[in-house]
Symmetry: C2
Subunit: 236 residues, 2 copies
């Protein structure tokens, strides 16, 4: 019996790619400095896992995602020869991850799901990032759990099991909702239930992975509203 849902955020709840590209275009209008913003955004996201891996492997001590994001951004700006942005511009762009916009089904879907389950984030974003985003985008979380809560990034077991522990629930009473099979399979390994939600253009029009759930995943849905319906049958 599922009592709580915990949600991956980047990609699953919010459309980071469209949102960051829009923020770059808006910054270009403000500064007059142009660049290949799609490329910058895709490279930024490609740096995401490797940057956390250094913390996960113990090669560097804990730093939060804002710090990792900023380091990556500065390197990518150099690589793409985008010059002239002020420190303030760069900090503003870095904080665009605090302002990411949800997919169109999310607010309605989360409110439906909240009526039956405890709903929480479980994201590698910082607590302030997640709570700023929730406030701005009206995401009605019951709890905000972050890598920063556990000083471990997903897919470390401390994150999935830590959320269940704080909720005073068994791992099998908690379901991770994510658009990413890798995240879901890690949660599954540690005893949580899992729901895949399809976000087929999270990575842009040519995305060729995470287009369907791995066969080990418990539930699969095309959006959060369908997830609510499917859980009504699953969770008996």
């Amino acid at each position: 019996m599922i009592k709580a849902l915990i949600f991956d955020v980047f990609g699953t709840v919010v459309d980071w790619r469209t949102s960051v590209i829009e923020e770059c275009i808006s910054l270009e209008k403000h500064t007059g400095i142009s660049g290949d913003w799609e490329k910058l955004t895709d490279m930024w996201r490609q740096n995401y896992m490797p940057s956390m891996d250094k913390v996960r492997n113990g090669k560097r001590k804990w730093v939060n995602l804002d710090t990792l994001h900023k380091e990556s951004l500065i390197n990518i700006l150099k690589e793409l020869n985008i010059t002239g942005l002020t420190d303030e511009n760069i900090d503003h762009l870095n904080k665009s991850w605090h302002r990411l916009k949800p997919w169109s089904d999310v607010v309605e879907g989360l409110n439906l799901l909240k009526s039956k389950y405890s709903i929480s984030t479980l994201s590698n974003g910082g607590i302030d990032l997640l709570s700023n985003m929730a406030k701005k985008q009206n995401l009605p979380w019951d709890n905000i759990f972050s890598a920063e809560t556990f000083l471990h990034y997903k897919p470390d077991p401390e994150t999935y099991l830590g959320a269940a522990k704080i909720l005073k629930l068994l791992p099998e009473e908690v379901m991770l909702v994510a658009a990413h099979n890798q995240d879901l399979l890690a949660a599954k390994k540690y005893g949580l239930k899992t729901a895949f939600v399809l976000r087929s253009n999270e990575y842009g029009p040519n995305q060729d992975f995470d287009l369907e759930a791995d066969e080990k995943i418990d539930v699969s849905a095309s959006n959060f509203i369908e997830l609510f319906d499917k859980l009504n049958s699953y969770n008996i």
Copy 2:
């Protein structure tokens, strides 16, 4: 400039005394077992600070408030010669602290305050207690911070300063809202701003303390709606 408000919960946000007495009466109707429920409730609350002090002083390792509440309850039931309650009855009564009802100004006041500030709990109650309460009573917190977040009970500095740190704010950008001078003066000592809210019958009709703010407190209000108005003038 205040950017975030953090709230004491028991007494400040919710009326623990009336709520717990009501839960006892409801349990009496269900079980037929009677008792002096006002006395039980007042004794239970009197045990609150001493029970946490053992953890704060390092005399026992971290346990959460549900555990401390349950130990106190079992002792008080013995002391008052209330017998015959099952383990399930006792657990249900212990969890009444997860279901406490807010004062009448709270939901409207918090929604007003949320429109201008980040609003979070800073309570000695556990994360699950606070999130269960928020869900049941429609308390629209941006963040839930608990003693359990920091493994320290208030008034340890780790709680007040820990909340500011997670919010990525300076202590003076954060204001503690509480009905208790002791809590507020501790927060003040560590650099936070402070707002007293009057809850003149929190401890029953004969309450003779915390009827006005200590002179060191920054803002004083008679309820959360008045607090919103007063902060508009204060926070310029």
